[in-house]
Amino acid sequence: MLIDTENRELLSLPTAELLRLAPFAGDFFSSLGLELPAEEISTADYFASLDAELLEDLGLERQTLAERFTAFMELLENLKSGIDNAHIESITIRGGHDKSGRAEEFDLTVKPGEVICIVGPTGSGKSRFLADIEWMAQGDTPTGRTILINGAAPDPSQRFSIEHKLVAQLSQNMNFVMDLTVEEFITMHAESRMVDDIPSVTAAIIKLANDLAGEKFTPQTPVTALSGGQSRALMIADTSCLSTSPIVLIDEIENAGIDRKRAVHTLVDKRKIVLMATHDPILALMGDRRLVFKNGGISAIIETSNSERANLALFEEMDAKLGAVRNALRNGERISHTPLLA
């Protein structure tokens, strides 16, 4: 890993050499609206040669450019090493209190590969719970909860570093704002993650998403043309492969266009901690535990028992029947002709 002084030495390298050592360094110039320096010119000389009027127009100060460059190169290094070193073995949530001040008496430790369900009505404190995890609360939030990483209090600097973000959220009302094809979209994400072999990672994600989605799509499909289920599948595949966040929060996977069980298994296989806000019996029974939210606090933690799981076969059978009716409707059939209802 390059250390700070080496980042400063990068300033005096000719651009061709710089780009060979750090291919993403070119982004520094484009992100500030500057042109890429000529191959033989060093970054420091380039900064010195820039026209004062151009800098004024771009809202940049010459004396801060070297500092910005060094900070940018450090960011690149941190992102790369953050992805390599994001070893999270456990996250512990130490209970605080609910809105009335009643103590939550629990220490909840979750590990990669576990599925935790979140249940409770709107306004019962689910968002606050996630905010506590995201902020790595140290008794300094309204709930008084404390978050420990690998059993210890996290370094406060991690609170705001984008490479240490704890929670990736796959919310139900998410949209794609960008007008890109699936392939371009995933490539863009992979680039921001400094992935080495972008084409093969992109291809793997698209294949995985297609395995999860009911109806297939191609790398050339625009993301805005994807169905709800396909979008969900793509984001689950993308998050499982590209996100550095150890926790993935999903709010309710709708029962259409996506294999829900496989979707959850995909995240589990990639060693994510899956938090799932769901009242769907099949998904809820996939969870190892359920956190019950009430009045801003966690009022109970229910371990999924074997007798509860014994219902799973029955629920799946019911689900399959309903699914068949849905398909019949889609195919223009009459429901009464569906033999499964008999």
């Binding site: 500030l32 809202g59 905010a131 919310s171």
Partner: protein
């Protein structure tokens, strides 16, 4: 008294996140006041009043709102001191991406939203690049991938600032933003302080009310596009 400047493009959620942060601070007994700058009209005054926040509005009318801001900022500070606030928030109109009403030694916050697209961080000047805290809003309605790319692109242009995601509707992150605002240094007075960056020059015939188009009517600080 602590002073904070909040800037950001129109409709990025400046008022919404400010209100959520203030609500959290009020619960902890912090006395907060707001000055809202706008150009033509502002509904935000009543939004703040509803929250029980003392607020003063400044309408710049036909003047550049950011220049208007600088001319009035010392008086804003005096008003806040007179009212006995612990913390005064000055919210800018957010009209021009080049401008930055940020002051050296005063906590500078920039609010931008995920919906504006991943190329936006590049397009915003000192307002974003020189801010201490970047608040990213509307994260709940875009995909996780876009959220991650967006914060990465913000990081690219502002490597040292603190990035925080706040949901202006649910308030998720508002409490945490409040904590960051409390870190602002005390600002006893502003006379002689420097803006973090010069405001765009504007002194041509059109600044003075000219309406006719054509080179005969262009005078002063005029810049031409290069079509070659």
């Amino acid at each position: 008294m602590k002073l904070i400047t909040i800037a950001g493009p129109p409709s990025s959620g400046k008022t919404a996140v400010t209100i959520k942060a203030i609500a959290a601070l009020q619960r902890e007994g912090v006395h907060v006041g707001v000055v809202k700058f706008d150009s033509l009209s502002t509904q935000d005054q009543s939004v703040y009043e509803k929250q029980g926040v003392a607020v003063m509005s400044g309408l710049s009318g036909n003047l550049c709102p950011d220049h208007f801001f600088v001319s009035n900022v010392s008086d804003c500070l005096s008003w806040g001191a007179e009212k006995g606030f612990d913390l005064l928030v000055i919210e800018s109109a957010g009209l021009c991406n080049r401008c930055a009403p940020h002051i050296q030694g005063v906590l500078a916050v920039c609010v931008i939203d995920n919906l504006s697209g991943v190329d936006t961080p590049k397009k915003i000047g000192p307002m974003l690049k020189m801010s201490d805290v970047v608040v990213i809003t509307k994260g709940d309605i875009v995909s996780q991938a876009e959220r991650e790319v967006f914060s990465y692109r913000v990081r690219q242009v502002n490597a040292n600032g603190t990035i925080i995601n706040v949901n202006g509707l649910t308030g998720q992150g508002g409490h945490e933003l409040g904590k960051l605002l409390l870190n602002a240094p005390e600002t006893p007075d502003l006379d002689g302080r420097l803006l973090r960056f010069s405001m765009p020059a504007a002194l041509c015939s059109y600044c003075l009310g000219q309406r006719k188009i054509g080179s005969d009517f262009q005078m002063g600080n005029v810049k031409k596009m290069d079509f070659k």
